[in-house]
Amino acid sequence: MKPLNCPARLVLALVITAFCGRIAQAETVKIAIVGPLTGAVAQYGDMVKAGALTAIERINAAGGADGNTFEAVLLDDACEPKQAVAVANKIVSEGIKFVIGHACSGSSIPAADIYENEGVVMITPSATAPQLTEAKPRQFIFRTIGRDDQQGPVAAKYIIEQVKPKKIAVLHDKQSYGQGMATSVKAALDAAKLPVVVFEGIHAGDSDYSAVITKLKSRGVDFVYFGGYHPEMGLLMRQAREQGVKALFMGPEGVGNKDITAIAGAASEGMLLTQPVDFSADPANVALLSAFAAQKRNPNGPFQMPAYAGVKVIADAIAGTGSTDPARVAAYMHSHTFKTPIGVVAYDDKGDLKSFKFVVYTWHQDASKTAIN
């Protein structure tokens, strides 16, 4: 991250808004972008930031939402619940009404309590724990990403019907997203009576997974489902190939990052993953990708497009209701559909995406993927 990036970007955004905003009724609507900007998982915060900032800039350049221009307010919660609560209170204190974030499930849940109570619209592009929307009925909390228990069954169905492996290992990274996905898949596999011989967690920060790979080798595992993100998946596949383990690997969308080919090389060929329908095939999104490239932002990763979509949904809802009142915007969001880079978005009454479609892809070592199913 270049040190001079963020202030320069904000200045640029403000200059563009000054040029393009309408004079009459033009309000500056602040959107808070909250995620880890520092700390071990900062790369995921960077993804959310990239997507949301690109969206805000493009929407402002196109005239804003119903004449209102967006102003991005970046806040760091380092994925810590204690900082998340402080940030949430600060957001309420400053009168910001729309939040893209928080990036992590552990931070989103306590912050959501505060936003719900105060009527602040929160759209998370990356928190996938079901508890966020299940635990209590909420009007103001939304997601632009599928839940763990929406994605897991798709993967399990494919494994059961298409792959039919003889011995399965389900691994996870002991974190909220990974363990949630792995548990969801395992439950479905158990229900179908497929043999899961290993169900264990690896430590996300470790570099050496030889011990668990040898364990897989000696149990004769031919299929591995890993709930987690691309760095660990890349290492697992690479080290598995080094030890001569010929198992097929599968993961959730967190592994679908082009960086995985850099880490795993030839071993990444043939990896399976579930992801929302690929947006980059759509010609309308070519302009989108070049907007990312123009600001030297990385568009690869699971959270850039959901963050972009979140901002777009807010913009469309503001334009649709003709007001920036969060209660009206939230009600509009619950009752309408939106066209976004991640597909058509519609919300159920819990704030989750209705019938979000996941597709199974197979990965290639040149970092491309093809859909199968």
Binding site: K2, K82, A86, G106, A262, A367
Partner: protein, 408 residues
């Protein structure tokens, strides 16, 4: 004059070598190949800054030696009491006029004051280096969460229970390890803190694993809910009772006042303890363990009492922390938290309660003020820790031993 010049040149060269591979040549991923991008500006800035600093350092040293630090005005005990009373009144009144975000930060600072005072007993009074203090903090938080989840107990019922539970853990964990001295004790406590966190993460069936336990309720006002709607249908809420419109900010103020109460309680208890024979025994132990033993005091029992009481404070803070957040998960209880609380105690001045309070406030408030430099926040935090130790290792307000001054 050539000596500082040569020094400056050497320092500048060193800076160039050190910053070039990490700041100057940036690794970037182009598709999936690694390439280097050169940014020489930060390197040049760093080199020039170091060069200039090394040149003017002798001048700075000489001029600082002449500057006299202003003496703190000493207050008579009567004035001290009034000052403390005035501060307390200010602390009670301020949240009603302050911004919500600031009140919340103040609540966080108060939690760290409680933690700091607790660790101060262990590290400052008794001289035991504890690097796993966060484990007891976690026990307090999870006790409230689990008791609520399984038995539906309220915050007020769980507060004493969490304190006792943490104290019990302190007793059990302290018993085998207190024979160890100095750094070995530090390492063992570090190990314990990590074991507790790893077990909380792995035992998903009991503790919820990495997701933790959520939906933990906020404290009630003497049994009456302060919420938009009562949790049990039919009950009144605090606002309905007082005929006020509900505002979310009131809960934030209520949490702050509770935290203030708990912090004052902690301060009161620990300062009383210091003046009791137990406290004297701690100080004796810290100064010289062998002399202590030769005078007939049992060091193991003294250490155990310090450890247990310190853990109790952590349990108190942990229970309140769980209530404030509504969620506990293992991410909140890492080694860095222990390091932060230790930094608070050392920065404040080991054994000095007022110093610990000041340091807790500074270390909580300053990162919030530096939010505009979000990316550099942690960098500055690390730098400040190093600089504080170099500049003033005895702490901000070093503890003063009770002493007598002979009249002239």
């Amino acid at each position: 004059m050539t000596m500082p010049f040569k020094n400056a040149l050497a320092a500048a060269l060193l800076t160039a070598i050190l910053t070039t591979p990490l700041l100057g040549l940036q690794l970037q991923l182009d598709a999936y190949r690694v390439v280097l991008h050169a940014h020489w500006t930060p390197v040049i800035i760093a080199v020039v800054a170091v060069f200039v600093f090394q040149l003017i350092k002798p001048l700075l040293v000489r001029s600082i030696a002449h500057v006299r630090r202003p003496a703190w005005p000493t207050l008579r005990p009567q004035q001290q009491r009034y000052a403390v009373l005035a501060l307390l009144v200010l602390a009670l009144v301020w949240p009603f006029f302050g911004a919500r975000g600031h009140v919340d930060i103040a609540t966080l600072a108060l939690i760290y004051i409680i933690l700091g005072l607790g660790l101060n007993i262990v590290v400052g009074f008794a001289g035991l280096l504890d690097l796993g203090y966060v484990g007891f903090y976690a026990v307090g938080g999870y006790t409230y969460a689990l008791l609520y989840q399984h038995f539906g107990l309220t915050f007020w019922q769980c507060l004493p229970l969490a304190t006792v539970m943490s104290a019990l853990f302190g007793l059990i964990l302290g018993f085998p390890v207190l024979r160890l001295r100095g750094d070995y004790l530090a390492i063992v406590t570090l190990g314990f803190g990590e074991i507790i966190r790893l077990l909380l993460n792995n035992l998903s069936a009991l503790t919820g694993g990495p997701d933790g336990i959520s939906s933990i309720p906020k404290p009630t006002v003497l049994g009456i809910d302060m919420a938009r709607h009562a949790s049990v249908a039919g009950d009144t809420t605090f606002h309905a009772l007082l005929d006020m419109t509900y505002q979310g900010g009131h809960m934030v103020i209520y949490l702050y006042l509770l935290a203030l109460l708990l912090a004052c309680l902690s301060y009161f208890v620990s300062s009383r303890l210091l003046r009791m024979p137990m406290g004297r025994a701690w100080e004796a132990l810290r100064d010289d363990e062998i002399a202590c033993r030769s005078l007939g005091l049992n060091p193991t029992r003294i250490k155990l009492s310090a450890f247990t009481l310190g853990a109790a404070f952590a349990g108190l803070a942990g229970c309140f922390f769980a209530a404030r957040q509504g969620l506990v998960n293992p991410e909140s209880f890492t080694f860095i938290e222990s390091a932060l609380i230790l930094a608070i105690v050392v920065l404040g001045g080991m054994g000095s309660q007022l110093g610990v309070i000041l340091a807790a406030i500074l270390l909580t408030v300053l990162p919030e003020l530096a939010r505009s430099f979000a990316e550099y926040r942690m960098l500055l935090f690390g730098l400040v820790m190093v600089l504080m130790m170099i500049w003033r290792p005895q702490g901000l307000l070093p503890a003063s031993r009770p002493h007598v001054v002979l009249p002239q």
